[in-house]
Amino acid sequence: MDVMMRLILAQGMLGLNNGVFYAMLSLGLAVIFGMLNVVNFAHGALYMLGAFVALILSSYLGPWIGLDALHLGFWPALIIAPIVVGCFGMLIERTMLRWLYKFDPIYGLLLTFGIALVLQGLFSNYFNSAGTPYPAQPESLRGVVHLGFMVFPKYRLFAILFSIVVCFLTWFVIERTRLGATLRAGVENPELVQAFGINVPRMITLTFGFGTGLAGLAGVLAAPIYSVSPLMGANIIIVVFAVVVIGGMGSILGAITAGLALGLIEGMTKVFYAPAANTVIFFLMVIVLLIRPAGLFGRQN
């Protein structure tokens, strides 16, 4: 295999690695926007929260409650952190966001933006602003895999596969099951769905919890790769919003596809013109907005 081909494949793998995180996060955003019509600016902060829950479970919880030997590792965190973040999301929805549905969506955006700033500020106050390495990467996922064209850490491969499965399951549940159909109907016509005996407010709370839980899950997955920092959410959320806009606001399939594709495109840009890698997504966003304002997969109306 010649050098160029190897480099393209290798950067492609790394791009995919970034892409799955874009996909997971924009998926959560799309679910929340599609179902609730809320632009959740706190999504990045909740992703950060997920990573911190994992870090706290492994390093801080034991000493806090007086059990120095207690370290909850990666696998428990993979389950606990999304639940914690999801519950936190539901709390936000129940206590704050609920009162804003009758107003313009901009109020929801401003509220969640405020929540993001508060969370970020709180964590910067107590933790290293430049990040704390996550210590509990599972033993079974250490080491590397030889892919022929590159050496790839096992953990990253796991993160890619795991995220793709989660994305697919989410898409399947919402687009292909009865539960998803009810959800979508609840968005279209809440009164009618309520008349069928379905508790629409509770459904909305659970949906918000699910969307934020996805952010928490992405946070746990990211912790061993990127190390845990209060600013990790703020850094990625801008890109993720661009992904959502490109994919089409509220489109599940659009979010997943655009996330993966843009990760790959970013990787390819690093091969051909590295300095543009940080901005290529935004160039594409501008172009997509000019040509298809509702995004690639959005309904044009």
Binding site: V3, R6, L7, A10, Q11, L14, N17, L117, V118, Q120, G121, L122, S124, N125, N128, S129, A130, G131, V144, M150, V151, F152, P153, I225, Y226, S227, S229, L231, M232, A234, G267, K270, A274, A277
Partner: protein, 432 residues
């Protein structure tokens, strides 16, 4: 101790300040007394007395560093404050009969926050000397500001050779190492061992740029080639794509022109992505023993790096490291912390010799004295502000006897060879 940090986006600036032993309530009183004293002096037709004695009745040393970011554990952090406090205590806690106070703050690696803090320290808190200044971008800003306000800075953490080069100031001192010395030390050793083609991974700010520039110069002077460079923002978590570019360049050596957490991350990930297994050599241009500890000696084994000091060289140094461990809660005895201690003693000695804390008189004494302690052997502060002293080339070893026993000294680089000659430093103080 009070920690105050701005909430929210750190871009919104407010000086982040940690005030210790603070007697906030006394400031107003002091202000009134001062105003009274000045008025009295004016009435008597005398200029405000500054040439003699200690201004404001206290010598204040400000430790302005990275207390929370990538440079916390190897350069700044509580470890730096502990070193300065240890020196003050060893000195006796007073100079010319007046108390010595140490305060500290976090500049968060932001030049604007660093400058705002320094300004407030000098103007309101009457800080007499500012030290640490890890992060060259912050150091360059603060050194200029402090010099305009006739305040001495003694930088230990930042690397940029510009601090005593084209950006040199009358009151700015650079103590411990600089990018030129690192380039000469590590660059020469690596090229002489056959590492003739280089690809750099550079921290994208003043320090990284200076290190890249100085090292490229050394490499090319010795007949080596620089094949490429990737600029990477500070505090990057994921170096993988830059490492791939380095791998693809075919260079024999990947030069890491970064520091602290960035160095740790890039070396760890180079290992993860199999760079070293594929035959490329890593050259960490600024590595501390704390970084080696974080990377793990099994991964870092064989890595050569240049250091301003190593704790395990002689009895005096070992003794210092032992005492430092006790007062610093076992912080890493890195060369920067040793420099913090050494410069504090030197500064206080200079005040004692000058009989005043007036910046001009103290700076003159600092230039005159020979600094010969456990840290700097035969050290001398030049007119451009650079401390010239011997540097060491260390090589990481495995199976040390203690936590910080991670390297062997493989060469000593005499100060005059390690640092740029005074005539070539680019400092134009003499011309003025």
């Amino acid at each position: 101790m009070v920690h105050c940090r701005p909430f929210g986006f750190t871009g919104m600036v407010e000086p982040a300040i940690t005030i210790e032993n603070d007697l906030m309530g006394d400031y107003e009183m002091k202000g009134i007394y001062l105003a009274g004293a000045c008025a009295a002096a004016l009435l008597l037709g005398a200029s405000a007395a500054s040439a003699e004695g200690i201004s404001d009745g206290v010598v204040k040393i400000g430790v302005l560093g990275d207390m929370s970011g990538v440079y916390k554990s190897s350069f700044s952090g509580e470890g730096a404050v502990a070193a300065v406090k240890m020196a003050v205590k060893d000195f006796g806690g007073t100079v010319l009969g007046k108390p010595i106070e140490v305060i500290s703050a976090d500049h968060q690696n932001k030049a604007d926050i660093g400058s705002a803090t320094a300004r407030q320290w000098i103007d309101e808190q009457k800080v007499d000397m500012i030290t640490d200044l890890t992060n060259s971008a912050v150091a360059l800003a603060v050194q200029k500001l402090a010099s305009d306000k006739h305040t001495i800075t003694m930088a230990t953490g930042p690397g940029s050779s510009d601090l005593t080069g084209k950006a040199c100031t009358k009151y700015g001192i650079h103590y411990g190492y600089d990018t030129h010395a690192l380039a000469v030390g590590t660059g020469t050793a690596v090229v002489k061992n056959g590492g003739t083609s280089w690809y750099f991974i550079t921290a994208d700010y003043a320090f990284g740029h200076a290190l890249l520039h100085d090292t490229s110069e050394v490499v090319e002077k010795l007949g080596g080639k620089v094949l490429g460079n990737s600029m990477v923002p500070i505090a990057t978590q994921d170096f993988s794509s830059y490492l791939l570019q380095a791998q693809n360049s075919g260079a024999k050596v990947v030069g890491l022109a970064n520091a602290g957490g960035d160095t740790v991350n890039s070396i760890k990930q180079a290992h993860e992505f199999g760079l070293t297994d594929a035959g490329q050599q890593l050259a960490g241009l600024l590595v501390t023993i704390s970084d080696v500890q974080s990377i793990g000696t099994d991964v870092a084994k064989g890595l050569s790096f240049t250091s301003g000091w190593y704790w395990n060289t002689d009895e005096k140094s070992k003794d210092w490291a032992k005492r430092y461990a006790e007062v610093s809660d076992n912080a890493a005895p890195t060369f920067v912390r040793a420099a913090d201690y050494s410069l504090t003693i030197a500064y206080l000695n200079a005040i004692k010799a000058a009989g005043t804390d007036d910046a001009d008189a103290v700076r003159e004494e600092l230039g005159k004295m020979k600094i010969d302690d456990f840290f700097a052997k035969g050290g001398q502060i030049r007119k451009d502000g650079l401390l010239i002293h011997d540097m060491y080339l260390l090589t990481v070893k495995q199976g040390g006897e203690s936590k910080w026993d991670v390297a062997n000294v493989t060469a000593t680089i005499p100060g005059k060879d390690a640092y740029v000659a005074e005539a070539d430093s680019g400092c134009s103080l003499d011309a003025k």
